[in-house]
């Protein structure tokens, strides 16, 4: 009897089985580590390009701008203004005065203007952060040989100036203000379209819809829409918002046609396109949030004589709101990062003025990154890396606020 209970194969195998178990465990762990390495490599790669040495060559050597023996760096504001007056055309000077009177400008600002307008630095070559740290001496030698007139400077492409400067075709003076404002305008219309419609649809599906053929179709349809590639939404937006609804999206029916935009490729069209794109995400999240509100709350409200809408409006919605908002923030961060549909809808390639109305031409942060990445010069790749840092910081803070919202306001029943 005793011999029957012990399976002879059992003890023979156990070591081998355990060994293959630990090998596979190691493989599973390794895969997880590879995933983390990928994320680290991504972040390092971006920071690597966003900072580093650059060889700058000036059109006019700053040494020739010495006034009364005072070098450019040490001149005071008045001297700098005089310099500016004498070196640039009076028309350009007047335009600067009109933008902001020189009396109100700081010395740093005027100094910046002198550098931009007169000295006009250009990038001969740029190096990544890693190269700059490890081969600093070689780089210095290279620059001395290849670009004798250039000065080597360690540049952080990601600065507060970078965030506040408008777009420019010069790498050194380019910034992302135009793109950030474009993103904000676009997202505004995305929210205006998708939030009410999404929450409305979720209320309908969870509170009002009966289980019939039509409502089942709507439910399946929403799930399918969530899986449609974003570029297809771009094509839809091009056909409907840009072409068919051009009078609306170009502002023609309001008599507000922006002279710089002759067609419907505007902030409004882009925002509406992204609105359709994130609508399924908002609906699905809002449905979940509404479903999580306990039935007892609704019953209590009905018991006190409230109508269906009163119950939904005063009890279900307030309780579901943290979940709905969290879902909306996630949808917004998806919309902010979207590039492909906006390229198709017709983002502008180079605009240096800020969008001022729903009917302005637009560019957004991801579009800007795409354009800078597509250019072969290293300095524009560095700009793209800096813009990616801006984008990631925006997305990270949005996601962090979603988590805070979720933790602080969600109630457990």
């Amino acid at each position: 009897m005793k011999e029957k209970l012990v399976n002879p194969n059992y003890n023979v195998n156990i070591e081998g089985r355990n060994r293959s178990g630990s090998v596979w465990r190691w493989i599973f762990q390794l895969s997880t580590i590879i995933g983390i390495i990928a994320l680290t490599a991504l972040l390092l790669n971006i920071s690597n390009s966003a900072f580093g040495y650059a060889a700058l060559e000036a059109k006019i050597d700053p040494a020739t701008l010495t006034v009364d023996g005072v070098v450019l760096e040490d001149q005071n504001k008045e001297q700098l203004i005089e310099l500016l007056k004498s070196k640039i055309s009076s028309g350009a000077y007047k335009k600067l005065e009109k933008d902001q009177p020189f009396a109100e400008r700081s010395r740093a600002n005027v100094h910046q203007l002198v550098l931009e307008r007169i000295v006009k630095y250009e990038v001969d070559q740029s190096w990544s952060l890693w190269e700059s740290l490890t081969r600093a001496n070689e780089i210095k030698k290279e620059v001395a040989e290849n670009y004798p007139a250039a000065k080597l400077e360690f540049i952080s492409w990601f600065t507060s100036d970078f965030v506040s400067r408008p777009q420019s075709s010069e790498a050194l003076t380019a910034g992302v203000r135009t793109a950030i404002l474009g993103s904000l305008w676009t997202i505004l219309f995305t929210i205006l379209l998708a939030f009410p419609l999404g929450v409305g649809a979720a209320i309908y599906l969870e509170e009002y819809a009966t289980d019939n053929w039509l409502n089942r179709t709507i439910r399946t349809n929403i799930n399918n829409l969530a899986g449609v590639p974003s570029i297809v939404y771009g094509i839809l937006g091009l056909a409907i918002f840009v072409r068919t609804l051009e009078p609306l999206t170009s502002g023609a029916i309001f008599g507000l046609v922006d002279p710089t935009t002759a067609n419907g490729r505007t902030v409004l069209a882009a925002g509406l396109t992204l609105g359709l794109l994130v609508l399924p995400i908002i609906i699905i999240n809002a449905q979940e949030a509404i479903r999580a509100v306990p039935q007892s709350l609704r019953k209590a409200s009905y018991g006190l004589g409230a109508t269906k809408w009163q119950t939904v409006w005063s009890h279900v919605l307030p309780n579901a709101m943290p979940g709905i908002l969290t879902g909306t923030i996630l949808a917004i961060s998806r919309a902010i990062g979207e590039t492909a549909p906006l390229v198709v809808v017709g983002a502008s390639t180079a605009i240096s003025f800020d969008p001022a109305s729903p009917f302005s031409k637009f560019t957004t942060l991801p579009i800007q990154i795409y354009q800078w990445t597509s250019r072969p010069q290293d300095e524009f790749r560095s700009l793209a890396a800096a813009a990616i840092l801006v984008l990631l910081i925006i997305l990270l803070s949005l996601n962090a606020s979603a988590i805070v919202l979720c933790n602080r306001f969600s109630r457990k029943y």
Partner: protein
């Protein structure tokens, strides 16, 4: 006096209640109408996609230069010479998808098994948010990563004359990293839905951790895993910015992953990058390609939903 007061109170109460019962609520109809409309917008969107894409695609196929049969057999897509063979775009799409999935499926499954069966709760709480960050990074950033990291890496491994600057391999590999968290999270959901009692029973029979994971839990979650893989494929086919940045411009009929080739999505982005004039052949062609993309991904999504519904093992 007292009685009268009481009576009048009763009467007013009655009046109130009858007025409550009898009041017609126009507001109610309006609200319900609006809510129904919001629900119906999603249907409009689908109809809009099918109608607009179908209409323009039809115009495309009616053009004298284009025929459906020709586009199925021709291996060149050159709108300017009247060649509209779909194959160069389809093969490069399939190639990037294949490369992406060959990274994402094994890694994704391994990570999911590790998270669900091996990791301590503490490790899981650290690792899951990291994967979510990976999933939340915009695709254009992955495109930059493919061009600035993966391509130089491949070129230094295989040689600069073998690997072109723009190639489908680096786009596909990075796309695999992008899809990895999607497959991981869907698979992990499926694995953790398998009831604990199954695992305990298997352990009770003397199974090792690996045997329980691979022979008991994995088969029980198979429908969810299959759905995750199909959704991943659909995502890879529709993925745009990585291929637009890193896979190269210009449709090319090649099966060499180290050469540049344009995918369906990459082609749409490049063609519509400039100011596209309406009713030109390029304009209509992006609708035909968009329709193809829509139909492929829709089919895959529906198949994945069917699999989940039909083959799901239901436990109490």
């Amino acid at each position: 006096m007292e009685e009268q007061k009481a009576m009048s109170l009763v009467i007013t109460l009655q009046k109130k209640s009858t007025s409550l019962r009898g009041r017609r609520r126009i507001g109610k109809t309006i609200i319900q109408g609006l809510l129904f409309f919001s629900g119906f917008v999603s249907i409009f969107t689908t109809i809009g996609i099918v109608y607009e894409l179908g209409k323009e695609a039809l115009l495309f196929f009616q053009m004298p230069e284009v025929s459906i049969l020709e586009s199925m057999t021709n291996t060149a897509w050159q709108p300017h010479t009247g060649n509209f063979g779909i194959w160069p775009l389809v093969t490069s799409t399939l190639m990037t998808t294949l490369i992406a999935m060959s990274i994402a499926i094994p890694l994704g499954l391994a990570v999911a098994i590790y998270l669900s069966e091996y990791a301590t709760p503490r490790a899981r709480n650290i690792l899951k948010p990291i994967l979510e960050v990976l999933a939340g990074v915009p695709t254009i950033v992955y495109g930059y990563f493919a061009l600035m990291f993966m391509t130089p890496l491949l070129r230094s491994i295989f040689g600069k004359d073998v690997v072109e600057i723009y190639n489908t391999a680096s786009a596909g590999l990075v796309m695999g990293i992008l899809i990895l968290p999607l497959i991981t999270s869907m698979t992990e959901d499926a694995l953790s839905a398998v009831p604990r009692s199954l695992r305990e029973a298997a352990y009770g029979m003397g199974g090792t951790r690996l045997e329980v994971a691979l022979q008991i839990v994995l088969p029980a979650a198979l429908s969810g895993i299959a759905a995750a893989i199909i959704i991943g494929i659909s995502r890879a086919i529709g993925e745009t910015m990585i291929v637009a940045v890193a896979a190269g411009a210009g449709p090319k009929f090649t099966l060499n992953p180290f050469q540049g080739a344009e995918t369906i999505t990459g082609h749409i982005v490049r063609i519509s990058g400039g100011d596209l004039s309406y009713d030109s052949i390029d304009y209509n062609s992006i609708f035909a390609l968009g329709l193809l993309l829509f139909l492929i991904t829709l089919t895959l999504n529906i198949v994945s939903q069917r699999i989940v519904r039909r083959f799901r093992e239901v436990y109490e």
